[in-house]
């Protein structure tokens, strides 16, 4: 089977500074993959480079088709992307914000159909936003706004979802429910690639982790194989208590190295 997303020898330079260097990996349909690494190692840049928002070397393909050959609209039907910046410039309602996710599926000036509203409503339900529907998206708390923006990406209903720090600022219950949602999407055959800072969250919920350091992939595999004391020491410069629980791997950083 061809990969849902294949990144090969991807490199990015911002100005004269190399941010990513020959990053390669393949994601299969049905995988929920966590992208981890310390601040500034290029996680956000990698997600942007996959989307084509920054100039890059190397190739990104989907089902063996280079992404650059897709029109912006075709790409938007295949990939959704939740940026780290949670910008909302106007006080639009939560419901109309989520409905923006249907944009790549609309034709001309046609209004949203019943099928569109079905998907929008289910995205609102999944992200637990029903009571906030008519609220201005500018008045939401940080976590509520994050959930609204993720619901927007869910409404886009794409085979591949890229999310940059989607769990940041969420309370534990909503973090877990977000991870459950991503796992569920993966079980439905979609591919989710999310950058994460909380290692326990990554260890418990992701099928696979990709560890970045200095713009390169330094580890790629099952959470238990990536979240090792050696890797955490080398990349994050922390000592950590790593334990297997019934829920999965728990990583508790205990000190600096």
């Amino acid at each position: 089977m061809s990969a849902a997303l294949c990144v090969s020898s991807l490199g990015v330079k911002l100005g004269s500074r190399g941010v990513l260097d020959s990053v390669s990996f393949e994601l299969e349909a049905g995988e929920f993959v966590g992208l981890i690494g310390p601040n500034g190692v290029g996680k956000s840049t990698l997600l942007k480079a996959i989307m084509g928002f920054v100039a890059r070397n190397g190739t990104v393909t989907r089902d063996e088709e280079p992404l650059d050959t897709l029109s912006p609209k075709e790409r938007a039907r295949a990939f959704s992307y939740v940026p780290q910046e949670r910008e909302v410039s106007w006080p639009i309602t939560v419901q109309s914000l989520v409905a923006l996710g249907r944009a790549p599926h609309r034709r001309g000036f046609a209004a949203l159909g019943d099928a569109d509203w079905h998907i929008i409503n289910s995205a609102i339900d999944i992200m637990d936003l029903d009571e906030l529907r008519e609220r201005s998206a500018q008045e939401l708390s940080g976590g509520e706004r994050a959930r609204t923006l993720i619901a927007r990406a869910l409404a886009q209903d794409t085979p591949v979802l890229l999310a940059d720090e989607p769990a940041a600022g969420l309370d534990p219950a909503h973090q877990i429910s977000l991870m459950m949602t991503f796992s569920q999407l993966a079980r439905e055959g979609r591919t989710v690639l999310a950058s994460l800072h909380e290692l326990t969250l990554a260890g418990q919920w992701c099928d696979r982790l990709i560890l970045l350091d200095g713009g390169c992939v330094v580890a790629d595999g099952l959470p238990a194989d990536v979240l090792t004391a050696e890797n955490l020491a080398a990349v994050y410069r922390v000592r950590a208590h790593i334990s297997g629980t019934e829920a999965g791997l728990a990583v508790v950083p205990t000190g600096l190295i």
Partner: protein, 333 residues
Amino acid sequence: MTGGRSDWLLLGTLAVTLCVFFILSLVTGPAAISFFESLDALFTGRAGAASIVMQEIRLPRAILGVLIGATLGLSGAALQGYLRNPLAEPGLLGISASASLGAVLAIYTGLSALFSLALPLMALVGAVGAVLLVRALAGRGATTITLILAGVAVTSFAGAMTSLALNLSPNPFAALEIVFWMLGSLKDRSMTHVWLALPFILVGWVMLFQVGRALDALTLGEASAASLGYRLDRVQALVVFGTAASVGAATSVSGAIGFVGLVVPHILRPLVGAQPSRLLLASALGGAVVLLAADVAVRIIAPERDLKLGVLTALIGAPFFFWLIYKQQREVT
């Protein structure tokens, strides 16, 4: 999107108000013609002098009021949506200042005295020059900040050249004519002005009305809009050229009229759920209503003194602007 019914109510109300002010504009003027006489004179042409007044003076004035008001409202809404800044206005890109410069040069060189259409034509040339200069300065696919800075640079340069023309004007009458023209007015315009401006204005409207959905997506920032399948370079080109065509043509026949394009989108935004796409048509209708109302007002307030339209809109608009800044300040702190 959402709120379809309340939108039709709002748009319907604005359209009816527009019709009322259009008729008021037709029946207001120094020539003493009664309401029914004037409408009869407009449609039948039997009434001699009254028909000439109606068909050649008041009708073009009312039509230009609608076209220019709608242009200011629409382009203001589009620019605010594109730049995600409620303080953006149609003159931001330097189009109005440069069109004014073109007109001023037509007066300064005496071309407009030789051939009256030289003024709007030179103004259009000024607008074209401005948009080319802004695009050259900012480059294709420029960031919004670069675009604003390029607009500021072009506005300053056009302003400096206008001051130079005033400074060196051959006689006080030319200087006075320049100053009066720059105040902005719809007085004594003919159907020729309408036909000259109309094609550019319509082309500009078509471009600006296309970007509605992209502006909605831009609410979430440029990366999100791009991820939703919008080509931001194309959106920017449509906004810049659409503004240039419509605002350039509008300025070339009326002079620069301030504050309508700033204030109208701002007033209407809460009534359309703050969605940029829904704001476009509402703001176009609202701009036309406000400009027609102001143009009726200048004829009623000071019929003999020729109060300029641009002076009145600024008189009302500037205090509103103070309030806007005050309110924003309050929200930030």
